[in-house]
């Protein structure tokens, strides 16, 4: 199955843009690149819902829209719920003969990590359990960037945010990030994957696979934020690549809740500190007093990577 899906750049450049230029996302933001990769990977008409967040506010500044396709902004917590309703409505329209039965339409909900890991969590879970045929995409920039860089449950341990400020009391965020991808997979839905935009072939192949399954699918995609992560805006792709090379952000997929495949194994696994060095939000971790934390985080990344390889081995 995996090998049969091909991503051909020559075909893609001829596709019509569904997210058109002129939006106001920051230079270097990972989100528009990811969204375009996703929409270019899908051949059918699409219907989109988007949670409150950077993508929403920046693509729909009155009186303009950057969306060339049906798009609805829902409440912060309700992108998955609104798309559930849309998907159910289209089903009913087909049943009643208002739409051709063989007309394939792809339903996608976009949410940031705040909308996905935190406030919208129960609503995604509900939509997955009900079994709507849709793709949920978490554009994960690891904090509430739209409201000014507050921590979320996707924010990694040790990161500085405006509500987990690094100082004398705490060395940045105290808690570990929530294992969202695994929790989504634990719903035993057909397809869940983790991806990053530097590896567009992998990302787009995952999109094609996700929309082909008969049921819900979830993609968790790392989306760098130069403002919040404190990195130069031309480093976005290099940084996600390093995230994969350090195994901080493994690229993998889980089918039907149990079949794990690790899609990228770095030839030489780099220390996670190399990834941290690229971003100002981790700068304080390199003070001698915080060395223990860096070691702890490295140990956790190693453990999670080993577990992932183990899970893959067990499912083959």
């Amino acid at each position: 199955m995996t090998d049969r899906i091909r991503v051909n750049l020559r075909d893609i450049v001829n596709n019509e843009e569904r997210l058109v230029p002129g939006h106001r996302l920051c230079g270097g933001c990972g989100e528009p690149t990811i969204v375009r990769q996703i929409l270019h990977a899908i051949d059918t008409p699409v219907v989109l819902s988007t949670a409150t967040g950077c993508l929403e506010v920046s693509t729909s500044v009155f009186p303009y829209t950057s969306w060339n396709v049906p798009w609805i902004h829902s409440a912060f917590e309700n992108a998955a719920t609104t798309i559930s309703g849309a998907e159910a409505a289209y089903k009913a329209l087909k049943r009643r003969g208002n739409l051709p039965v063989d007309e394939e339409i792809t339903f996608i909900a976009f949410g940031g990590d705040g909308a996905s890991y935190d406030i919208g969590f129960q609503f995604i879970s509900g939509a997955l359990e009900r079994g709507h045929k849709f793709l949920y995409v978490c554009l994960n920039n690891e904090a509430y960037m739209n409201t000014g860089i507050q921590r979320s449950s996707a924010t990694p341990r040790g990161a500085h945010t405006t509500t987990s400020p690094a100082g004398e009391v705490i060395p940045g965020k105290v808690q570990w990030r929530k294992p969202f991808t695994r929790i989504m997979a634990a719903h035993d839905i057909p397809y869940v994957a983790q991806a990053a935009p530097h590896n567009y072939r992998d990302l787009m192949r995952k999109v094609k696979k996700a929309v082909a399954v008969d049921g819900p699918a979830v993609l968790n995609i790392l989306a760098p934020c130069p403002r919040g992560w404190r990195h130069a805006s031309d480093q976005t792709m290099a940084i996600t690549k390093l995230a994969a090379d350090t195994c901080y952000w493994p690229l993998y997929e889980v089918e039907n809740g149990h079949k794990f495949t690790v899609n990228y194994k770095p030839r030489e696994k780099q220390p996670v500190a190399e990834w941290f060095k690229t971003q100002g939000r981790f700068r304080h971790l390199f003070r001698p007093a915080n060395e223990w934390l860096l070691e702890e985080i490295q140990a956790k990344v190693d453990e999670e990577w080993a577990q992932l390889l183990h899970d893959e081995e067990c499912s083959s």
Partner: protein, 372 residues
């Protein structure tokens, strides 16, 4: 001499810390996020606790838990988050849990105008949660008043064992003014009531007291707290002879103390032909409009409300008795005006409204004074 400029949201934080707030549970939302950000830095230093929750439902729930645990607690949000808090707001009113909810209003409904001011949550503050319930809502008009009213909000919540809403707006939250907290050193802070009865005699909802003390969990008092209507021991009840006294008591604790709770300023209303009643940032435009009108020899008075809920009907009736016209400027389509019209009669009241995300200009109010 140095002058410190402070933002309204920062003054709210200073006021909360001064009032003894030691717990904040919240969720980032424009234009209130600075309150969370500052408290995340300040609370740990004073031995308090800051928790960023997963949404606003959880935020107010955590605040209620912290308050029952014995800490003065608050949350801060804006319209969409305030909507999510309504269920727990009703719970806090019914279970009589002291807490402070700051709503820095932005344009609504829904996601609305996140970075623009509004006073659209006036009626939501009063009736956003279901069922009849008493509530207190305060509206500051300046950075300094945000500080004093935040302290007052905590004091009222402790005195009357009730949730108190601090209804700010984007202008007040983000505006910077010269402000020195030391000038307000003599403001009294009300501490949590204690009880001198032994645990076996303690009733958390004692019928014989207007405001029974709430003993913190963990002090050896076993009692029941629930959102179901309850008897004086806190246990659910359907008995009319228990429900009725409960209703009477929770409303009486507020209504019998209107003179303390209902705060306002008045200026030149004795011989005024026209009175402007304003609150929040709109009151600042009203002050200027009244000055301009007086220069043009209009007899105009100004009532600035600091408390909008509960609404002191008798007092407003008395203050406005001599005026021919009452003008109510609001950054909504006329919410508090509904209440003022109910008390003074529709014929007497003129509304000045604006909902496009811009402030009401003094000129707009002046025009209303001139045609009045």
């Amino acid at each position: 001499m140095t002058v410190t400029l402070m933002q309204g949201n920062a003054a709210c934080v200073e006021g909360a810390l001064r009032a003894g707030c030691r717990f904040f549970g919240g969720y980032p939302i424009t234009p209130s996020s600075e309150i969370a950000e500052l408290l995340s830095r300040r609370l740990p230093v004073v031995g308090g606790r800051f928790i960023q929750m997963e949404d606003e439902i959880a935020s107010l729930a955590a605040v209620i838990g912290a308050s029952v645990g014995g800490l003065k607690a608050m949350t801060a949000t804006s319209g969409p988050g305030f909507s999510l808090m309504q269920e727990n707001l009703g719970y806090a009113a019914a279970a009589e849990i002291p807490c402070v909810i700051v709503d820095v209003q932005r344009g609504g409904p829904s996601t609305g105008l996140p970075t623009a001011p509004s006073q659209g949550d006036v009626m939501q503050a009063r009736w956003g949660t279901h069922g009849d319930h008493p509530i207190i809502a305060l509206c500051p008009t300046s950075v300094a008043e945000t500080y004093t009213l935040t302290i007052e909000a905590f004091n009222l919540s402790e005195d009357y064992r009730t949730p108190v809403i601090l209804l700010m707006d984007e202008v007040i939250g983000h505006m910077r003014e010269a402000f020195d907290p030391d000038r307000y050193g003599d403001i009294e802070v009300v501490d949590r009531m204690t009880t001198d009865v032994p645990p076996e005699w303690y009733f958390p909802y004692d019928e014989t007291r207007a405001v029974p003390p709430l003993v913190s969990f963990g002090e050896g008092f076993r009692y029941h707290i629930t959102g179901l209507l309850h008897d004086q021991a806190g246990f659910p009840t359907y008995r009319q002879d228990e429900i009725e006294p409960w209703w009477q008591r929770v409303f009486a604790k507020i209504n019998d103390n209107l003179d303390r709770i209902f705060m306002y300023d008045e200026d030149g209303i004795e011989d005024a032909r026209t009175i402007v009643i304003a609150y929040g940032s709109t009151a600042r435009s009203a002050v200027h409009a009244v000055q301009l009108a007086r220069r043009r020899r209009y007899k105009v008075g100004l009532i600035t409300l600091k408390t909008i809920w509960p609404f002191h009907e008798a007092l407003i009736e008395e203050l406005a008795a001599g005026a021919h016209r009452v003008i109510v400027p609001e950054m909504n389509l006329g919410q508090l005006a509904l209440e003022i019209e109910r008390v003074l009669g529709r014929a007497k009241v003129r509304r000045v409204n604006r909902v496009d995300g811009e402030l009401i200009a003094p000129r707009q109010i002046l025009e209303a004074i001139e045609v009045a």
